[in-house]
Symmetry: C2
Subunit: 166 residues, 2 copies
Amino acid sequence: MRGASVKYMPIGVIHSCHTEAKATPIQPVYAAGCAGRAEIFPEYAEGLTDLEGFSHIYLLYHFHKAGPPRLKVKPFLDEVERGVFAARTPFRPNPLGLSIVRLLRREGNLLFLDSVDILDGTPLLDIKPYTARFDRIDTLSNGWQDALSEKAVAERSQREYKRSDL
Amino acid sequence: MRGASVKYMPIGVIHSCHTEAKATPIQPVYAAGCAGRAEIFPEYAEGLTDLEGFSHIYLLYHFHKAGPPRLKVKPFLDEVERGVFAARTPFRPNPLGLSIVRLLRREGNLLFLDSVDILDGTPLLDIKPYTARFDRIDTLSNGWQDALSEKAVAERSQREYKRSDL
């Protein structure tokens, strides 16, 4: 039995210095210095209460510029095709994005962020607190990524993005 | 400007021993021994290639039994109302769930899991690999959770769930 489709409404929009997918860093850990803002629509602003106590938050968003989904993709970090669910590419059956970003401060319905690897104008679907207790996991293996050197990953991940203050 | 709504189709369904929301552990780290399976619909199975190399994966899913959204909630772990985006409750404007679970093995389109804190029958929307490089963050602060003792959290989180093999 197939489930019914689900429908979500954006709760806000992400502003960043990244206006081109090809020049957007591929993971927040390699986007230090990339400022951004999450603007939450006023009707949801009350839901941000207490968020400023967390140094890191998850943003869940819609990859609005992703092309058609693929089941095998060549990840940015690799030369070999991998299953889409073993990669973080935007070209997914459901183009859901997940980034862990640094929360610098909150001003009303605006969140000021660092380490933003997200395209400007991206629709925001949800925000969750990142906590060391629940989310900092001792992995036993990291799949195809275990074969990559830290240097090669860092070089590929940063790409040619502009750093700017937003 | 408000963004348009987004529509997703389940890529599969999560099977677990949790049939009651009230008896489901609240985070995977407190659900060790809770087996589960993710069944991916056959048309997406090719996208699972290479996933078995990762010891931990993110499941993104639809909280199909969540009630109406609230902007302030009393988290399971706390006695004080918090903003919904500073909590992991299902009662969210967009009822998107996120769990980091242990991937034990893959058999075709079936993923055998441990540390499952998800209700049986939950529609699965996406799977992403969890990697130490991108996802294991040194937090500076963990908001209202920093005030809770590890013992109190563990007691509340486990709840009265049954452990079983699936």
